[in-house]
Subunit: 394 residues, 2 copies
């Protein structure tokens, strides 16, 4: 019997997930993966995490194993207020909702916002899992181009002349996959447009803390707050890249008008985030180890990024170009001539190296000569070897 009629039509046309396939490849013996946005587990703060785990078992046992509040562990939300303050964000525990990683924050927000036909705008290229979430809704997706200063906000402004926009989704700092950071000027303009045209900005900020320099852009949330606006920007971040992704702890700062709606979706989805993880992160934050841990991650990723950039420049510079990332986990590159990086993957795999082909990061007008490298997981030696293998696959 054919089961095709049993499937939600919204997921009918999805292609098999590239990431899933790549993860399989990247676990093959001898293959060097520059694909996943996976933190280097050599950098896990084993001592601090073990200590926090012990604290939970000793002092917070019942909270950690029992049902909790939909909005999340109160102690963790209080701690997060301080962490947000370090990022220039003024908030309070009541505005926060703890999510199962920031991936879930995106899913909850989009489910709470997307009515059939609503226009969601993404960057070109953008985070592919957000495209997956959007494909499960009946929203319409439009895209706006980017350059080395992030989303081209003038293009968005032009689009607004003809189109009512519900929501703009972006990773404004050390973007995934682009690695770029939205300039101060564009941040201001984007927020002004959001206020003027009353659309929501989802500011996805998993990487902002992983800066390779001392330069900091204000979050869009802060830019809006400084304009007196507390309704149009929704900020989300996560402990996945700065502490440990397996804990699945992220958070979202919700405008007053969205709080109850998102809580209702959260409750329907999985009741609340993992109690044990939340207690564990709350305990960890009391140890004062997070900032040294982030400093370590910044140093190590910066070195790896510099190395990968150098090898690519030296060995493949005549074939590909890229902007030097100033933070985050990704180096976004493009061939200097027409090229299909999806097809090429088969060849590089044979040589023992994988990346993510660029086309999966586009909602439309995919640029097939682009590709994303992550330098987070591989060792220095592997980065060197990976580039050699890429070269040999040309």
């Amino acid at each position: 019997m054919s089961k095709s009629t049993h499937l939600a039509h919204r997921i009918q046309n999805l292609q098999p997930s590239a990431i899933r396939e790549l993860l399989k490849h990247s676990k093959m013996p001898g293959v060097i993966s520059l694909a996943g946005g996976i933190p280097s587990q050599e950098l896990f703060d084993k001592e601090g995490l073990a200590q926090a785990t012990q604290m939970v078992v000793d002092k917070n046992f019942n909270d950690a194993f029992q049902y909790g509040l939909t909005e999340g562990n109160v102690e963790l939300r209080q701690q997060l207020v301080g962490l947000c303050r370090e990022r220039g964000i003024t908030t309070n525990p009541d505005q926060l909702l703890i999510t199962s990683g920031s991936q879930q924050a995106l899913d909850l927000l989009i489910r709470a916002l997307a009515n059939p036909g609503d226009v969601f705008v993404v960057e070109r290229p953008t985070y592919l899992a957000t495209l997956q979430i959007l494909s499960l809704t009946e929203a319409r997706v439009q895209s706006v181009g980017g350059d080395e200063h992030g989303m081209i906000v003038d293009e968005l402004e032009a689009l607004l002349k003809t189109t009512r926009i519900k929501c703009v989704y972006l990773v404004p700092t050390f973007g995934n996959p682009s690695g770029t950071t939205l300039s101060a000027e564009r941040r201001e303009k984007l927020v002004k447009l959001a206020i003027e045209h009353d659309f929501i900005i989802i500011e996805d900020d998993p990487y902002g803390a992983i800066s390779f320099t001392e330069e900091r852009q204000k979050t869009l949330f802060q830019v809006a707050a400084e304009m007196g606006n507390h309704e149009n920007v929704v900020y989300t971040s996560t402990f996945s890249k700065i502490l440990a992704p397996g804990l699945r702890v992220g958070w979202v700062i919700l405008p007053e008008w969205m709080k109850q709606k998102v809580a209702i979706v959260k409750q329907a989805t999985d009741l609340h985030a993992n109690s044990f993880s939340q207690s564990l992160v709350a305990a960890y934050l009391t140890l004062g180890r997070l900032n040294p841990q982030i400093a370590l991650i910044r140093d190590v990723y910066k070195q790896k990024c510099l190395s990968l950039s150098r090898y690519l420049q030296e060995e493949l510079g005549e074939h590909i170009s890229f902007n030097q990332p100033q933070g985050g986990m990704f180096l976004w590159a493009q061939f200097r001539y027409e090229f299909d990086t999806t097809k090429w993957l088969q060849q590089t795999l044979e040589k023992g190296v994988v990346y993510v082909p660029g086309e999966f990061f586009f909602s439309d007008n995919a640029d097939k000569k682009t590709l994303r490298f992550s330098y987070a997981t591989a060792t220095e030696e592997q980065l060197y070897e990976a580039v050699q293998r890429l070269k040999s696959a040309l």
Copy 2:
């Protein structure tokens, strides 16, 4: 500015969640809660859970803190094959997907299945969070009545004469809220109808292991398998009621044709279930402590259930009637005369006791004289006192 246009229309008309309000009440000092389906934390296997946690930190550190597979921890899925076998279910790790509690299994399944206009059938009464999930889709919900033998399958058969049904959702064993168990005869008939009319059965089984007798009904999954059918029944269960809900670990057994679709939704939703919790449960299962733990829960809940039943019968028997539960966590009762249990809640709250008014468990034709008591959390003394307070509120 009005933000109402920003909200997904599907959540526009949801009432504030009754459960959320009740949880607030039930935490007021002195209030005895018979409301939530919350396991008694006095029954948590502290020693075993602490031991398993230590095993994870010592032996599985990287798996516990790193990203994992969308389908879930391989070791846990292997263990679950054995656990399912004890429930009469033959499966293999490839058919299993680990979810963030069985709540998420329901959300994933409904999202993967529900096209606009599709008919989902629930019991009357049914689990209220499933109604919440359905209200976030554009599926149509219809209901079929129940009696002391569970869903009245003849009513479903009658409905099938006029209506194409996509999916039937039910808690066939120690139902929430009804406490009833679907009879063997109806199980067989329901599965036959599913095969004949090609609809999906979602078999939600969080309580099946918590039986107060040695009697066992076959799962619908098993009934179908014995008819040679492996496509129409989706089985989901959880560790929330037998181990610890804060871990948010549930699982679903997927027919071949649904595996990839559900995995795609899972990935978009939160990438994968909490790695730490999955490692912890897998470690716990190696200790051989789960079955003694379940035996303890069965004994304690049985005693509490008998006590609550006796007090209700003795003190309120002229006002309310109920069927004696044979397992699970809930006693479903109804007034013997017209009565509004939602309004009454205000009065019982003043006397210091809360329950869940029955009307929230109905998709339509709510029976306002019904109410749900949970005996799982309160002590024996509290159960006695609670009934006295209920009486004084009449």
